[in-house]
Symmetry: C2
Subunit: 302 residues, 2 copies
């Protein structure tokens, strides 16, 4: 056991969460959510995606969102930029940090962006270099790290290879995504062992989905291996695009409860975070997917 003393949470609800919610959310509501999240102590917030609104209408207001967020010392708002066009739009509104989204699965990459993993990396290279030239940090996502909706098992060596190439390309952090939530503690350990042999552990983040309810237990396994950055989505925003009705991102509230119980600092106020979760759940018109959120709301009502 070598649990980290501190963990940085990257809040992905406004982007990865809301892009997988069927309901359209107004820009004002997104900005209100982001304000709540900052108030709760979150310092890394992925706020938008500069992707074609034809493909992801939920993110069609990326420019307005990034123009609307309020500056706070120590708070970084990032945006996904899948290509040069997206990057240019992001740079035009002064985005501080961007992210590229790769995968460790050939079939997923083919179905998602119609090219091989190697071609996808070639496409990311100019996005990363132009962002860096503009003084903007780049984060990398590697999806399907513990399984793929199309080809099933993914070899840890493949995750390590793709992660290393993105890290060598200049990405400052690689977020390892269990996109379909099929991970187990042993798979988590094997995958992290392989990746951390090539990319330093302190440059890795765990981005686990809770589709099969296993996200926290896998995060606990990851924490015990030294991972100290966790992606999460307030209220468990976002579903699973590969299984309609199933859960997506792990809920930030539930992750924070786990970390608090382990004596790990996050700088986050759980009660305020639950307020953020309750707000956005009401906006999208369904109950929170965070068990902590539901329990705290029930206690408050009691």
């Amino acid at each position: 056991m070598r649990l980290p003393k501190q963990v940085r949470i990257v809040e992905v609800g406004p982007r990865d969460g809301l892009q997988n919610e069927p309901q359209p959310i107004s820009t004002a509501d997104k900005l209100q959510l982001i304000d709540y999240l900052v108030d709760a102590g979150l310092t890394s917030i992925e706020a938008a995606s500069f992707v074609s609104p034809k493909w992801v209408p939920q993110m069609g207001d990326a420019t307005e969102v990034m123009q609307g967020v309020r500056a706070h010392a120590g708070v970084t708002y990032s945006a996904l930029t899948p290509n040069i066009k997206g990057l240019q739009a992001a740079l035009a509104v002064g985005v501080q940090e961007v992210a590229v989204f790769g995968a460790a699965s050939e079939s997923f990459t083919q179905k998602n962006i119609n090219c091989s993993i190697s071609e996808s990396l070639e496409r990311f290279a100019p996005v990363v270099s132009q962002a860096q030239a503009a003084g903007v940090k780049v984060r990398a996502y590697v999806s399907c790290v513990m399984g793929c909706p199309y080809e099933g098992e993914i070899a840890p060596a493949k995750v390590a290879e793709v992660s290393d190439l993105l890290y060598q390309m200049g990405c400052y952090e690689v977020s390892l995504g269990d996109t379909v939530g099929v991970g187990t503690p042993y798979k988590t350990q094997a995958m992290l062992e392989a990746v951390s042999a090539r990319v330093p552990m302190d440059k890795l983040a765990a981005h686990f989905h809770d589709t099969y309810g296993q996200a926290l237990v896998n995060l606990y396994a990851a924490l015990n291996m030294g991972v100290a950055v966790i992606d999460a989505s307030v209220a468990g925003l976002g579903g699973c695009p590969y299984a309609k009705g199933a859960a997506g991102n792990v809920a930030t509230e539930d992750v924070v409860y786990l970390l608090q119980g382990l004596g790990i600092e996050t700088g986050i106020d759980l009660a305020k975070l639950s307020t953020a979760g309750a707000f956005i759940s009401q906006v999208i018109g369904r109950s929170s997917r965070s068990k902590v959120g539901l329990a705290l709301a029930a206690s408050a009502a009691h």
Copy 2:
């Protein structure tokens, strides 16, 4: 790490689950659920509670349920018997195993059954001895092992003391209940260390509620300490009586997924278990609280 090779799951959905569901369920539906559970491979099923229907109307058909369950080699149906009257009714219909329900919290015991812990143990003693005289095994529940809805923190030493007294009384197994789901991995370790110093680990079961989404991670901590019996409730049946709208028992499907991922044998067929969960969710008219159940249903529909 000393994970067990095999885990026995005690399915408590028909009792602990359904007694906390507001909707009345017909005896026929309960029996159908139990048939599905047996078909899925469950061998320990808590099927009813011989408690006053004035207090728990959901369990008013305990006699009919216990008369209706079908005998299968290797399958045990048990029932909660809070007092001598309940025990006599259970014995009258040939129940094979009964359970008594204590707590490690003085305030909880006062509010729940209006006496001290010590008085509660005095009341259980004749239930245990008369059951044993009739050749019926007795299981003990100790609730509030990681926190109490009324007094908060509970000392591990108190849990150990109550567990030991129930074990010495003749209960063959002590099920340790995190009744309000406030446990953490560290609390789980501390509690189990204290209890297993007095009651052998192979006589202990973990009965964790998922109110704050932490049940699986706490079960993982318990498994790593050698616990090999887990209580769970199909579809996550049952809510939290102390926080309306919050989750109760951990879902059996999610526990089985965890155990399968750890290479631990349970003898349970996950697909058939999900069928049981889907059936009872439809009966009570809400979606399953098992993430595995939701994900498998979504995949099947896809």
